[in-house]
């Protein structure tokens, strides 16, 4: 009768702790509607991979029998970072760069809102994380799951699992974290600043040229960002070219859904108890929060700085929308704007800053790989 007890005998308290974490992720996804498309597969995956003798993992050390999740991880993420990169095609298809092209100045906010990444790298290095791990932790501040995965993979960080989980969890926490930080950094008067929005039509030629221009420029200055920026811009070109409607629709819906579904459950490979449960994971969670807070501060302060020299004032809250969490960050800012003054509509401006953050975070990811790669012996 021993075969009936094999599972119980192999069970460890760490695995049970991971079931609880998995349960919390599922709860947050279903009850709190926090990034359910990712947190639910990740939560279930955390339970799945932490069952003793789980055949979905197999015996990767032996290499003879690989479970389905191990195989998906090795092929879809480890070998070529294919899954996060392919997801960027779908994201690119979903993004309308119109509001940004109407007011290109907003691009600056996208750049400034990456400050938290670099400040967190310094803090993580101060605490004692090796530079490759510090940079991979800092990139959580990009508020962009695929970028975080790519950077952590390329820099060979051993904290890939916690980084992925924290990156995706915090993206869901944007509506909780950002309003408090924005209020802390701005006065009521600043939050009431109105901005004109001229809904002028952006010529289709401009919309078509934009992804090509961005790809060429970022490719020349930050070649390591090309895989991310290239996929994002390829997706956007599909959307804007006007002759590939069915491909664009597929990329926005079915394709993105399939990748998201597989990515969520595949990430769970990194949530095996022995690698996940450590003090470092808690520190990474705190550093991730720090990165988000400093991103928001960076964006808001940059908007304030621009206001010192500009005739047309920018509502500093828009700076917070410069992070990559799309479209949550822009929704948060628009909601705060209407809360302060119901007739102040900031949504289109916030979307402009938000999509610029999407591009900026991908470029920063590539820059970090490029700058740090040689230091990390890559």
């Amino acid at each position: 009768m021993d075969f009936l007890l094999q599972g119980f005998q192999a069970l460890t308290w760490q695995q049970v702790a991971m079931w609880i974490i998995g349960g919390i992720l599922i709860y947050l996804a279903i009850k709190k509607d926090m990034e359910p498309a990712l947190l639910l597969p990740m939560g279930f995956g955390a339970i799945l991979v932490n069952l003793p003798l789980s055949p979905v993992i197999g015996d990767p050390a032996n290499g003879e029998h690989l479970g389905i999740i191990t195989s998906l991880f090795q092929v879809g993420i480890e070998a070529s970072e294919a899954m996060p990169l392919l997801l960027f095609i779908g994201i690119g298809c979903m993004i309308d760069f119109g509001p940004l092209l109407t007011n290109p100045k907003l691009f600056i906010l996208g750049g400034a809102a990456q400050l938290g990444i670099f400040v967190t790298i310094i803090l993580a290095a101060m605490i004692g994380f090796p530079l490759n791990d510090a940079a991979s932790i800092g990139i959580i501040g990009a508020a962009d799951g695929p970028t975080a995965i790519l950077v952590a993979m390329q820099l060979a960080s051993k904290y890939l699992g916690p980084i992925m989980v924290v990156a995706y969890s915090y993206m869901a926490l944007v509506p909780i974290v950002q309003p408090a930080v924005i209020k802390m950094c701005t006065t009521k008067k600043e939050r009431l600043i109105r901005m004109k929005y001229s809904a002028k039509q952006v010529p289709q030629l401009m919309r078509i040229l934009f992804p090509i221009i961005v790809t060429i420029i970022s490719g020349l200055i930050a070649p390591d960002s090309l895989s991310l920026v290239g996929m994002l811009m390829f997706g956007n070109l599909l959307r804007e070219c006007g002759v590939l409607k069915s491909l664009s629709e597929t990329a926005q819906t079915t394709f993105s859904n399939i990748i998201t579904l597989l990515l969520g459950i595949t990430i769970a490979f990194q949530m095996q108890a022995e690698a996940f449960l450590s003090l470092e994971t808690i520190i990474i969670m705190l550093l991730g929060l720090f990165a988000f807070v400093f991103d928001t501060i960076g964006g808001v302060m940059c908007a304030k700085l621009i206001n010192l020299f500009s005739k047309e004032k920018i509502n500093p809250m828009l700076g917070a929308a410069g992070i990559s969490a799309f479209p949550m960050a822009s929704r948060v800012v628009a909601k705060m704007g209407t809360k302060e003054d119901p007739s102040n509509h900031l949504l289109m401006h916030a979307v402009g800053a938000n999509v610029s953050g999407q591009i900026a975070s991908a470029i920063v990811g590539g820059l970090i790989i490029g700058i740090l790669g040689p230091f990390c012996g890559l």
């Binding site: 092209l101 990456q114 790298i121 010529p203 221009i213 200055i221």
Partner: protein
């Protein structure tokens, strides 16, 4: 059982307050921020230039069409 010693042991591979690691990290801070703003600046300039050229071309095309139209109407009048 998780106890304080286990928690502290997890810190073993971290060297608290690693000031030596901060120097290169500070280097990355300025290099990274400079690079991102250079890329963004170039994108803004290129976008503005492209928008300007497209607007001028559209205007010129419109003017040519108007001139052709008025020439046609003058011809038909004469």
């Amino acid at each position: 059982m998780l106890n304080l010693m286990t928690l502290l042991a997890a810190f073993d591979n971290l060297t608290p307050m690693n000031w030596e690691a901060i120097k290169p990290a500070l280097n990355f801070l300025w290099q990274g921020l400079l690079a991102i703003f250079v890329v963004i600046g170039l994108i803004i300039i290129t976008v503005k230039l492209t928008a300007f050229v497209i607007a001028k071309c559209t205007e010129a095309k419109k003017r040519r069409e108007e001139a052709a139209q008025s020439a046609e109407s003058e011809e038909s009048n004469s």
